[in-house]
């Protein structure tokens, strides 16, 4: 258990640093490319590379947002429910979301494998480098969902004790 938690913290740290670094890199790249185009030295690959890095930021960012509970829903009805029902529903919702993400991960990986020979228009790099961001991001989010579900399950006995 302790090991899992340490591993999770380690992954989270990497996610943060990588995504921040990538975003900063994209900005420098796009800014530099715009400047070079103005002085008539366009970089043909800059847009492709920026987009490639961006999809990684998106999927890692989606996981970080989940970590911080930023993916909001509508709690109008669930707020009226007793805590036990709310928790059961939250667990169900997590399971559904995880299944959905698993679907993207599986088909995304297949897509990356099938299209491995497709290259970006402006640079000699397989398009799969971008596509793989989806399965990786989904796997990270499934892990976060599992962690949150586990937290919900564990909170239960404690709540009973208090009652």
């Amino acid at each position: 258990m302790k090991l899992l938690r340490a591993l999770d913290g380690w992954i989270l740290g990497i996610e943060r640093r990588v995504s921040e670094l990538l975003l900063a890199a994209i900005i420098v790249l796009v800014f530099a490319a715009a400047f070079l185009r103005l002085i008539r030295h366009p970089l043909v690959w800059s847009m492709d590379l920026a987009t490639l890095l961006f999809v990684w930021v998106c999927f890692i960012g989606a996981d970080l947002a989940m970590e911080q509970n930023k993916h909001i829903g509508v709690d109008l009805l669930t707020n009226l429910m007793p805590p036990a029902a709310r928790r059961a529903l939250a667990l169900l919702a997590n399971a559904l979301a995880a299944a959905f993400l698993a679907l993207i991960a599986v088909f995304g990986t297949r897509l990356a494998v099938i299209n491995v020979k497709d290259q970006f228009q402006g640079m000699e790099l397989s398009h799969s480098w971008a596509t793989m961001s989806a399965p990786v991001g989904c796997a990270l989010m499934i892990r976060t969902l599992a962690k949150k579900s586990f937290g919900l399950l564990r909170a239960r006995p404690a709540a009973k004790e208090a009652a």
Binding site: V55, L76, T78, A97, G108, L111
Partner: protein, 427 residues
């Protein structure tokens, strides 16, 4: 389609995050159809994020985060106070004007409302403005931020509807200022009746005003540079976002000297998570967009609406009425992504200009964050200010009326939106 709609409502009510509500319910369409491979929706989703135009989203979010970190907000607050503090209900005007000026830097209503909750609102409550009034002004004035360029909502609308983001930006200027004027008038009327005080004893001298103007020139100049740069092709809207970030870093580090490296990292961290949240919705909406186009839903809805009326004004009012209701229950980003592909073709088919439609639609949709029962900004503002919901609701009615009047004006007089873009870009 029925299964999709049922799944959508069920998941929505079960408090599933909105992105997954859209994604999972859209998937039910494929699960039922044995002859359709799941490869198609997944491909749509993954490729939807690989779009250079969407880079504008994190860039403008980051630029906004950086500029609030580097002291621009506090300086703008002083400028607003010098400009309007001597009026009746001074701080209410400061609150509204600050949202207008911040609109030229930040592109998100929610972040503007959060900023105003910290800057202006506590001061208002301390000086005897009612909590409900303070919360209502803070929430509703943030709509101006979303309209004045740059605006994240307009970028998303332009991306989904293939409408020029440059034109949308310019089109937001007049409605933004008009909204500022209408809201200030309303705040003034209410303040006069309740005897709310002023935040300055006398009108600022031209000299004081000029000094504050110079102090704020970098923030005030920014939206102008942005529009000029995009119009004359120095940069695309996405590149303009990167420029905005560079601009914020340079001003924060070398002019105001308040931006530390720690603050930059903090702004990056915040932006990555915000981007991830918005992009997950975009990714999941890609399937939905595919399903409704596959089903020719826009054509069906257009055909139905045209049987009601072919008058563009009446048609737009019907659509806006629907958007007001949709805004009550769903978050603006989701509404933009789901409803633009449905309603924009309808509007175009009766000859409504897409830029005109976009501004009216985004104003209506963004208002959804301030209307009950579901509203992101309501919850943020009321919880930070500890304002009871019913006080907020009662005091927000005059401002709701302001926005509805403005929407009506924009629908009836397209030139309010289109005059400037046609002037700048040519009709």
């Amino acid at each position: 389609m029925t299964l999709l709609a049922l799944a959508f409502v069920a998941l929505l009510l079960a408090n599933v995050p909105l992105a997954f509500v859209v994604g999972i319910s859209s998937m039910t369409f494929f699960v039922g159809n044995a002859d359709m491979s799941l490869m198609v929706p997944v491909t749509k989703m993954i490729y939807s994020a690989q779009n250079f135009a969407l880079l504008a989203v994190p860039f403008f979010l980051l630029a906004g985060n950086l500029m609030t970190e580097c002291g621009i907000t506090r300086r703008l607050f002083d400028f607003c106070n010098i400009s309007t503090g001597h009026m009746r209900g001074g701080l209410a005007h400061v609150n509204i004007l600050l949202s207008t000026l911040m609109g030229g830097i930040s592109g998100s209503a929610a972040s503007d409302a959060a900023m105003d909750c910290r800057m202006t609102a506590p001061e208002m409550i301390k000086r005897g403005y009612s909590k409900g009034f303070t919360a209502a002004v803070t929430a509703y004035s943030s709509l101006i931020t979303a309209t004045i360029p740059p605006g994240i909502g307009l970028i998303l609308f332009g991306y989904i509807g293939s409408v020029s983001i440059g034109r949308l930006f310019v089109g937001g200027i007049m409605p933004g200022f008009l909204m500022c004027a209408i809201m200030m008038l309303t705040a003034w009327l209410i303040s006069a009746r309740r005897n709310y005080g002023r935040s300055r004893e006398r009108r600022a001298t031209p000299r004081e005003f000029l000094k504050s103007l110079v102090d704020n020139i970098w923030a005030l100049l920014f939206p102008v540079i942005l529009i000029v740069g995009i119009r004359f092709g120095f940069f695309t809207p996405s590149e303009a976002g990167a420029f905005a970030v560079a601009y914020a870093v340079v001003i924060g580090k070398f002019v105001y000297k308040e931006l530390t490296n720690d603050k930059i990292v903090e702004a990056l961290r915040q932006t990555v998570a915000d981007t991830g949240m918005i992009m997950l919705i975009i990714i999941c909406s890609a399937v939905f967009g595919y399903v409704i186009i596959y089903n020719q839903a826009p054509q069906a809805i257009a055909a139905f609406l045209v049987t009601l009326t072919e008058n563009p004004v009446a048609l737009m009012l019907i659509i806006m009425a629907f958007l007001v209701v949709a805004g009550m229950f769903m978050e603006p980003t989701v509404n933009t992504l789901l409803l633009t592909p449905i309603f924009l073709p309808v509007a175009k088919s009766v000859g409504v200009d897409p830029v005109h439609f976009g501004l009216v639609m985004m104003t209506t949709i963004t208002m959804g964050s301030f209307t009950p029962p579901v509203g992101v900004v309501i919850y943020a503002v009321c919880s930070i200010l500890e304002c009871p919901l019913k006080d907020y609701l009662r005091e927000s009615l005059p401002f709701l009326a302001c926005v509805l009047v403005l929407i009506g004006l924009m629908v009836a007089f397209p030139q309010i939106v289109l005059f400037l873009p046609n002037l700048v870009y040519g009709g």
